[in-house]
Symmetry: C2
Subunit: 346 residues, 2 copies
């Protein structure tokens, strides 16, 4: 930039290093003594006791988000929450995150800083800190996040510990995100209230269940855990796969609130399909050893999002859902979740 | 895939989970007891003693690589090497890496697996292990790598420790990568030999100086270190910035071999400009305390790429290059490096 230019407006006005410095000043750190944050070749942190957990995610414009629906703050919030959710599913406490960003040189700074602001807001409750990253040119906006968390020795929760007889629980109320997506695809409502506001919030600014995840891993009763990103049934299949197990789910046990049912009805969505296959809820699915149920119940009392039973792991493969009217949904009769490459999200 | 289909050929044939499983089997781990690798929500590793170093990089098709020049193995090799180079610049030893990949569903598996194979090859000498990642749909190929390394307590090398009087050294012979790029931009030669082969190798499959970086950080003589990705002068400016210092470089001290000069002449490139501003060499630039030079010299004897003096840090700002003929290059007379967003790479 030449002197006398107006305030920088697009990425090109600041250049790579100007942009990095601005992000460091506004959104970086805090960096504690002995640590190194944004601006060097890598982030340096003391090793936490126990184990480190690392997770990374790539968000591509047009695939993961549509800039017509998402405000930049929401995009940033959601990107970090999705990564915090991965830490939550391992039972890890958040430590730091790195952001790699590709954007066209003409990208408005207001947009880019909005993204970082959204991440900073989603970061605040857990105290996770931005400690580094990368920026480069790209035709589309691409955001890659990496999060580091820590777990006490031996306490990481994995996807592969479930056994037949384990009880299945979910936090919160999966399905809202799908309802939000459906609502938004008809155009973003102005000043939404009631179920509309709830559905939008759950889709645009989901809250990662890292408190729930850490408490669940610690209580010693959870045999397997995963976060719900591709839809409950799809993600459940990952918990069951290692032992070629199945599950029986019971609609009567599902938490489908009156507000949720109302939203689904207004949007002409099947509430059960939204609950079972919605995706992007970032709730946690847990398998709980039945003989340790009391320890789990005590831990679950501290969960801000609560924990609700949905069914049980079975030796017999396949997932069967017992409907409230006593009928069964199985196999091809089950609603389907999301998988990249093979199907388009509808 | 239906049964009886031919072998999977494109990404869509395997789907997301099929692809991840294949990567895990072929390129993942090894995963040691108590660790968790590819396939869960995050990677889990024991905390190394001392400090962890994290770095992440985003590589976008069309910006960082041109699929016309790069074979997939080379792309993967180079992507991991660039990240290993960031660890090297912190004096960290490589521990593990994560790969997030966006690709169109029609992307050939041969291409994608070639990328992972290239990373695995570049990983072998240091023993760094693939422990996780993410895959998603995207119109263009985007590759995001995250590396974790470790340093003994207090030994991380940073960009901001240089002082006036410090001696400047580079490993290897920066500039080759630019010569390689120039050569390739005229069409990839078949069966190259001599300088052509060298230039291509340095551009397509650079070797990260992680051994040099770790030894340099350990010897206690290096006050600041950075890896050369944007060009020597550009990267040098980061070492000088914290103290608003400058440097005097001496062309007579530069290692510009006969082969290097020959390559530059054949490609009609100024060898000095290639050396000073070439970029993407992944050599290391180090500032060395003069009173600890002997400790550095002893460490440098173990450097596979060697270390060569180029000049000295000065209190006075600005970089001046004393040419072999006694004339000076300064200010706008210096060749320029690379910065995303502001200039196109030529």
């Amino acid at each position: 930039m030449k002197r006398g230019d107006p305030a920088p407006r697009i990425l090109r006005d600041l250049g790579e290093f100007g942009f990095i410095e601005r992000v460091r000043r506004r959104f970086g750190g805090p960096v504690r003594p002995g640590e190194i944050g944004i601006g060097d070749d890598g982030a340096v942190l003391p090793s936490p006791r126990g184990k480190v957990v690392l997770s990374t995610d790539l968000l591509v414009e047009g695939t993961h988000f549509d800039l017509r629906y998402f405000r930049p703050e929401e995009l940033g919030w959601r990107a970090l929450s999705a990564n915090l959710s991965d830490l939550a599913a391992m039972g890890a406490s958040p430590v730091c995150y790195l952001v790699a960003l590709a954007a066209p040189p003409g990208a408005p700074l207001r947009f880019l800083e909005g993204v970082f602001r959204g991440m900073a807001r989603a970061a605040r409750p857990s105290g996770i800190r931005l400690m580094g990253g990368d920026t480069c040119r790209g035709e589309k906006v691409v955001l890659s996040l990496t999060v580091m968390g820590k777990v006490s020795a031996g306490k990481a929760a994995t996807r592969d510990g479930a056994r037949p007889g384990d009880l299945l629980f979910v936090t919160g109320e999966p399905g809202w995100s799908r309802l939000g997506l459906r609502l938004l695809s008809g155009g973003r409502p102005r000043n939404p209230s009631g179920w509309r506001r709830e559905a939008m919030r759950r889709h645009l600014t989901p809250v990662a269940r890292w408190k729930e995840g850490a408490a669940a891993a610690k209580c010693g009763a959870v045999s397997a855990m995963i976060d719900l990103s591709d839809g409950l049934l799809q993600d459940l299949s990952h918990l069951l796969a290692p032992g070629r197990m199945g599950a029986v789910l019971d609609e009567k046990a599902f938490r489908l609130s009156a507000r949720f049912r109302k939203a689904a009805a207004e949007l002409k969505e099947d509430p059960l399909a939204a609950f079972l296959a919605g995706g992007e809820d970032y709730e946690l699915l847990m398998a709980v050893r039945p003989h340790r149920y009391h320890a789990f119940r005590n831990a679950a009392r501290t969960f801000p999002a609560g924990a609700f039973p949905i069914g049980v792991v079975t030796r017999r493969g396949g997932v069967r859902v017992r409907r409230a009217d006593g009928s069964w949904m199985t196999g091809a009769g089950l609603p389907r979740g999301f998988s990249h490459f093979t199907r388009r999200r509808d």
